[in-house]
């Protein structure tokens, strides 16, 4: 070993890497390993938990509805977030600040606060039902505890994610491109579709990936607002712990969820590179 003192801090990165490696090994990898182990060993060693899932038509339907809901939420939040991000990226500075403040307000507000707010709004005693009955819809439909209410709340919760991903990319699009296209004779709509939309595509991909993955593993909102008929995958994992105490099955479902999530990331990584996904810098 050299006795020379180092230039900056410590020689070599080992002492800097060690805390993270130790911490994550002990408190992240080991518990994750436990999940894998439990799925293969409870109640007896073997693949029977996965066999149960494979044979369960109900699990298939949960997977299907989870994917369907996640996809729907992704598309809806894109639909809402795109004009918002577009206006923020291309509007006056004051208007942009206003829009981003609104987004930040929603972004930083706890999921549970938003969940509670939706319970009030969509509840049978809430303003939406009152409005519908006033409009003559009798009897007014029940909205709370349906797939619709969970989807709406999740969409609302994830719009800020999507907006930020889109905004980060749109902010870097030079308005000259669109102007150039219009100057070259393109109708504004045409210029948008053939110039702006493709340029904003990286933001769309990033936002959709983030929202889709978050939605796949969403627990709080589907459990509190959704329908018991249409549970999402995270909800049934929770049930295995809270109701049936079937850790083996719960772990096996967790592994399936993890594998699905990793698959989405892997696809993203294959085409775009993971580093870019979080470049926007949100939670």
């Amino acid at each position: 070993m050299k006795l020379r003192t180092s230039p900056v801090f410590v020689e070599g990165p080992m002492p800097l890497i060690a805390p993270a490696v130790m911490f994550l090994s002990l408190f992240f990898l080991v518990p994750l390993g436990y999940v894998v182990w439990m799925s293969l060993s409870q109640p007896v060693i073997g693949l029977q938990n996965f066999g149960r899932l494979l044979n369960s038509s109900l699990f298939a339907s949960v997977l299907y509805s989870t994917f369907k809901t996640a996809l729907l939420v992704t598309l809806l939040s894109l639909l809402f977030a795109y004009p918002l991000a577009y206006a923020a990226a291309n509007g006056s500075k004051r208007f942009a600040t206003f829009l981003l403040t609104v987004v930040a307000l929603s972004f930083w507000t706890s999921y549970l606060v938003r969940t509670y707010a939706w319970m009030v709004i969509l509840g049978n005693q809430g303003p939406v039902t009152a409005l519908l009955s006033w409009l003559g819809w009798d009897p007014a439909p029940k909205i709370l505890f349906t797939t619709f209410s969970a989807t709406l709340a999740m969409t609302h919760a994830l719009i800020p994610f999507m907006t930020m991903s889109l905004f980060a990319v749109m902010k870097r699009i030079d308005p000259l491109y669109v102007r150039a296209a219009e100057n070259l004779g393109a109708h504004p709509l045409r210029a948008f579709v053939s110039v702006y939309l493709p340029l904003s595509a990286p933001g769309i991909v990033n936002g959709c990936t983030l929202v889709f993955i978050t939605c796949l593993g969403f627990y709080v909102m589907p459990v509190l607002l959704g329908s018991p008929r249409d549970q999402m995958i995270a909800g049934i994992i929770g049930d295995q712990i809270e109701q049936t105490l079937d850790f083996g099955l719960g772990s096996a479902i967790s592994i399936v969820l993890l594998a699905l999530t990793l698959a989405v990331y892997a696809v993203y990584n294959r085409f775009f590179g993971l580093d870019r996904l979080w470049a926007g810098g949100d939670r």
């Binding site: 109900l58 699990f59 505890f145 018991p228 712990i241 109701q243 105490l245 079937d246």
Partner: protein, 357 residues
């Protein structure tokens, strides 16, 4: 601070962290935070929360604390899974809980309960007070209640509850296998005296009929009361106290049906190996001998006391409201824990996977 002009400082972040820190310190110093006194002088009890908890605190726990100095803290809601998990993790959220007859039998079979014999002086209790290491203090009914404005023709029994063509609407039932399966079989026409042990295939076939119409599987009494009060569901199978509460609170007319009510007994138990088991035994003995407190609790929460002495403190017209009143009991079904015992594990697992996956 102004030295940071060229650094990209965000004023919010510094202030927020500072603020959070100060706030945390203030909260620590705040006298409003009651710390549990020394562990040996405390007891943690699992409750159903809401009005149930308020009543049980006032009439059963506070007299106990006054007599013994042992402070009681509550944890809700009641969860059989938690009770089982405690023994595995060795971390006890609660020492004492109440379970229905089916759960208490199942828990006792699984070795989750402390033996009461030798710790609780049974000679001071009434006949049959101890059931499967639990002190059965009161009966409560799971009964049907519905919105009469929606169904002016009225629902009479569980068969109507399960008849989704004739009575379309949202329903709610407890996420509790033993009680729900009884209801499903009754709805399918099984006579009360042939209910036990359950014909599981028939029960689940019956349940399949309403699965799509159950909007909420409730897990706590107050929750059931609220969704009925708020009109989230049009009919529910819920506890008599909550049915009564919903009837009182709701703007809509709520009708309560006593026919085919499923009566269960609440049994107080001490969790196996709980660190404060001794205090738990003391509480159970105390409740067993507090006939007046039990009476008041039952009046407040509409339960039927099991302690015969309690009826001395209950006016006749109030006793008539109780699920254990002979007139009600005659129309009701008592859960038979002993006959269900061999089935309990299977029916729980099957029910949960039916509800979930």
């Amino acid at each position: 601070m102004e030295m940071f002009k060229n650094a990209s400082a965000t004023p919010l972040s510094r202030r927020a962290v500072l603020g959070a820190g100060l706030f945390g310190a203030a909260m620590l110093a705040s006298p409003s935070i009651r710390r549990a006194s020394a562990e040996e002088n405390a007891l943690y009890v699992n409750t159903w929360g809401g009005d149930w908890e308020a009543s049980v605190k006032k009439f059963l726990f506070e007299p106990f604390t006054a007599d013994t100095g042992i402070e009681i803290r509550t944890v809700s809601p009641i969860s059989f899974a938690k009770l089982a998990a405690q023994k595995t993790t060795g971390v006890y959220e609660f020492d004492v809980t109440t379970l229905g007859v089916a759960d208490v039998a199942r828990a006792n079979g699984a070795g989750l309960l402390e033996t009461l014999e030798g710790h609780v002086d049974t000679s001071k209790l009434w006949e049959g007070a101890i059931y499967e290491n639990g002190l059965a203090t009161h009966g409560f009914a799971t009964q049907m209640a519905y919105n009469a404005a929606k169904f002016p023709e009225g629902l009479k029994n569980w068969s109507d509850f399960f008849n989704v063509e004739k009575f379309p609407g949202n329903r709610s039932l407890q996420r509790h296998a033993a009680r729900v399966l009884a209801i499903a079989l009754l709805a399918d026409g099984v006579p009360a005296d042939q209910l036990f042990p359950y014909d599981l295939d028939r029960a689940f076939a019956s349940l399949d009929r309403i699965k799509d119409h159950v909007r909420v599987w409730w897990t706590a009494g107050p929750q059931a009361r609220q969704i009925l009060t708020d009109g989230e569901v049009d009919m529910a199978g819920l506890w008599d106290s909550d049915a009564f509460g919903a009837k009182e609170a709701s703007k809509e007319p709520i009708e309560i049906v006593w026919d085919q009510a499923v009566v269960d007994k609440a049994c107080w138990i001490v969790a196996k190996d709980s660190p404060r088991a001794e205090n738990g035994f003391k509480l159970i003995s105390h409740i067993g001998q507090n006939a007046e407190g039990l009476a008041k609790f039952c009046i407040a929460d509409q339960n039927g006391p099991m302690n015969p002495k309690s009826f001395d403190f209950i006016p006749a017209e109030v006793a008539a409201r109780m699920p254990t009143h002979p007139e009600h009991l005659a129309r009701a079904v008592m859960l038979d824990g002993a006959k269900l015992l061999p089935q309990l594990d299977e029916l729980s697992t099957r029910f949960e996977s039916w509800v979930g996956i």
